[in-house]
Symmetry: C3
């Protein structure tokens, strides 16, 4: 439970807000690189409440600029993307990816106006198939985050995206809510459910125990469940500042990475990257994920909207809910969205009743509030300074009773936390 | 004409408003009983501005609870209705029809959280095919209203419902506006119009005279029209606190009962029950009413929306308006809705020009304002205390000139007002 | 660039605003005469932010009245237009085109209510196929504006209309922005472009030079472009108070007249009249204009909405934009609307960067602000007093270098400005 003003502080991201100012000290992903072609159609981008335009110029460089021409404020979306710049179709004024005005052909030849006009433009970094923007002060720009999958070849990665119609924090909190997996995503038809040993772990212990540890990138949130054989099934999920989640894989399964980027206060861009650090992804896996498995979304063709969404009650099928799945809603992403979107665009956290299972959510809120306070006092948090702190990976393991996740060196090494563990010894 | 603040006082019904608080001292119908099946899909209910959820449990009991789970505020609409309770699909928390938390399976076995969490739940009474909620203080709960049709078998009743996109009072005032029947609902094609002697009464005298009398249930509003033979055609319509109308029948025709329940400030749930106190309803009557006659609505299949509605200009046909009906709009309910909805969601009563024909409307507003003042001063109005005051029925009769409706004992007996009439002698 | 309060002052037109009060001192066109038939369906009209109803009575007179019946405020849109008045279908009250209440049949025969009730009604003038309203004080009503095309027979005029979803000023400013023609409306496929010598002028000099002169009707805005032969191509466009534009024709081509009438603050009614002062319009011309040429709009059949509009990104075709036209949007009106609507409903003029090409826009804003100040001080501007000042016509000519438009007597005579020019000599 939060006070109303704390809730506002955590959820509002526009220019001038506390969280908005904080997030502008991190690189912010905003589009897949394939969504922009050289000299191709520009794309409107809403980002942290700002209306922007992205385009890729003749040389392949990406611009992320104010959507509106500074002259008379017509939308540059209708502009011509040509010869290393975008040209407003109203009067032919032309701007490059850095927001410089290159030409003002509607003015006399001796005009010096081009030198005086400048468009807001955010530096863009392209990596891992994503475009990342730096929206903060130039002097504070750090190295981009060094997520481990960024170094993998395409054969080892799978990408999907959708827009969640809810505040970013609301969506992201679902990732650190291990208990809900035992319910929301449960299968009732036992033939299906029994094929997954993990499904059995989730059913066997529906009240996981948390161990939550601070880390340079944010928090390590480890949930353990007791198995029928009295072992502990550990799932270790990372929260990385300011809006990343790396949810624990199935044991031996693929890893996943997700960002919850605020388009504005009430809509979020959610990218999932599933990756296999040590092998290629199979075609069978790609087919399954394209069909909405492993927490990839099913979207309306040609859009970023979920096919199952609020206006159609997530296509809930009450008969299916009776016999086949806990919700009657198809797809993990749609199930999660039904919960987080149904809370309203920004849930009223002053009316919650948090419980033991919510310890990771509570820890994340506290970290965020502390980080805002720290940043407001003029101090940087470690994740602002170094992209290297992001080189971690989530993990899972079956360990003997009494052994915590961070006592297992194999797991810690796999997660990229071995150094920290060894340093702590 | 009302002052702006009086208009606000009469029309706003949310928690904490004067009218909202007053209405919460009466049983409030909110759904047809058939809309909920044991262990079936729950239904979202908006009622007096509150977002609620209705469900019928395994044993047939109906719950009317807060729509949102108290844990993390996901909508319980997606919940599982099973084994005498509704279970949130997010973390499996389960609640019964009284709002008690039965299980919190995401918490450790020794958790006492279930005993501490409680959901808003309103007591529900089922009668006459309708579900009625008590939203006021438990100690003040009276017996449910004893409308006379509640005791009739289904063969003698016919039921319909729709949602009016306007404030409850606006819709209801149309019922106490006898004069409009002579115009809004008039037929122009004389072959049709002449088949009803009543239609002739309406055309013959378009300026009815009112006699309005107080009664324990609210008001008796009697309009008389002079016939060509110089008799008086009396139509006696009841207003029952807080939002009921019982419109006068045709002479010898079926009675009707209607409620104008505020879903919120700008939308109302309108139920019409047509009943024959002394005989079964014929199939021909049922067929006619299903086709929109006798003030029953024609709705979009599977919805509670009028087929003829604002967005399609009530399907007005100007050619039909020239020759067949006064409005060119089909159906009495749609004709009324065209008038009351076109005023805007909450009409500005400070800009009206009321006339002689509006005496009943004026009397109802005065009664409501007086009742709010009375309730605000801590006193109950009679209708709050006893369900028996509602055992009245509307009526109509042709009486000699000079004889008022309440001097005719047959009519008074038929309307259940004989006792009052005799006591007054 | 304007201050925020100046922008508000120029753009808000509701009752009681500075611009709204000013505009109400001019005749305001609101509908084509053909949209109303005697005793036909009335039409809802939004005008300067007021909700009105227009109808043509049995005798052909047009009423423009308050949309809502003064009795209970039902919409008169559903009314019966019959026997020289509109009759509310709720209670049969009847009003004539002057707002007089003719009958209140729901009241007793001796009622004097009809004499006491009065509806807002604005005097209407019909001319040139348009209906014009006087919404100001009766005592201040001037003669209607004497635009020169008003005297022409239908064979010499062509009419079109559409609704722009933006503030009136935003739309109108595009007319006084000569430079944009060289870009926004440019053709890239040279076979097409070369067929018009004028197109060559626009391409040859993309930075026109302004000469702007005050006039009783408003402003004469003349833009000159240098041709390849070093002559000056003059285009003389008129701004007439408060919302008229007369854009320069092609040399020897048809003239055009346009009004930008505020329906409300965020929507405008745009009428284009193209006329040939000295000959009949050909069928080929009519066919071309109906297909969207010469700045006539292509609208959705049966509506006043543009077919290419914001919700479909003006049907922009990026392939066409690469090779055939500067925008990839079809139709001059849609191209203009894409620019002016994409600025938002009311553009933020405090964030513009105006340039040399914007001198006419700057002059118009200054004239409007000065006129508001003048009117606010109780003084009339000349155009308020006399309809004759409007008898001007736009023009264009190819003149030798060094000769200004107003030094050419032929051109000045053609434009109806010869008197002024001679007086100035």
């Amino acid at each position: 439970m939060l006070k109303a003003e704390q809730n506002e502080r955590l959820t509002r991201v526009g220019p001038g807000t506390a969280m908005g100012d904080f997030m502008r000290r991190f690189w912010v992903p905003f589009l897949a690189g394939t969504e922009l072609e050289p000299d191709g159609a520009p794309q409107r981008v809403s980002l942290l409440g700002e209306r922007l335009l992205a385009f890729r110029d003749t040389d392949g460089r990406v611009g992320l600029i104010d959507e509106f021409c500074p002259h008379r404020r017509a939308s540059l979306f209708f502009g011509r993307n040509e010869e290393c710049g975008i040209r407003c179709v109203y009067h032919g004024w032309k701007f490059d990816v850095e927001g410089r005005c290159l030409e003002v052909p509607s003015e006399p030849a001796d005009s010096n106006l081009a030198r005086k006009v400048r468009l807001t433009a955010y530096p863009v970094h392209e990596a891992g198939g994503l475009l990342w923007a730096w929206m903060g002060p130039a002097a504070e720009r750090p190295a981009p985050p060094a997520f481990d999958w960024l170094g993998l070849p395409p054969e080892q990665c799978y990408f999907s995206q959708f827009v969640l119609n809810a505040n970013w924090l609301q969506g992201m909190e679902g990732e650190f809510d291990s208990a809900h997996v035992s319910f929301l995503h449960r299968r009732l038809d036992m033939e299906v459910a029994k094929t997954s040993i993990v499904g059995e772990y989730f059913r066997n212990d529906t009240a996981p125990t948390w161990k939550i540890d601070p880390a340079p990138h944010g928090l390590v949130c480890a949930a353990s469940r007791r198995t029928a054989e009295n072992e502990l099934y550990w799932r270790v999920t990372h929260f990385a500042l300011p809006f990343y989640s790396m949810v624990a894989p199935e044991i031996g399964g693929c890893n996943s990475w997700r960002c919850w980027v605020p388009l504005d206060d009430e809509n979020s861009w959610v990218v999932t990257v599933t990756y296999a650090p040590h092998r290629d992804i199979t075609q069978a896996e790609r087919d399954a994920w394209a069909a909405g498995h492993f927490a990839h979304p099913i979207v309306e063709p040609g859009s970023k909207r979920l096919a199952a969404r609020a206006e159609n009650d997530y296509l809930i099928d009450r008969a299916v809910q009776k016999t086949h799945s806990f919700t009657g809603i198809q797809g993990t992403r749609a199930q999660d969205a039904a919960m987080t979107e149904s809370m309203g665009p920004i849930t009223d956290r002053s009316r919650e009743h948090l419980a033991t299972s919510d310890q990771a959510i509570i820890a994340i809120r506290r970290l965020l509030l502390d980080s805002l306070a720290c940043h407001g006092a003029g101090e940087a948090v470690p994740a602002m300074r170094s992209g290297d702190v992001y080189a971690v990976r989530s993990g899972s393991a079956l360990l003997p009773d009494g052994v915590a996740y961070d006592q297992d060196k194999t797991l810690m090494r796999e997660m990229g936390l071995a150094g920290a563990a060894e340093a702590a010894e």
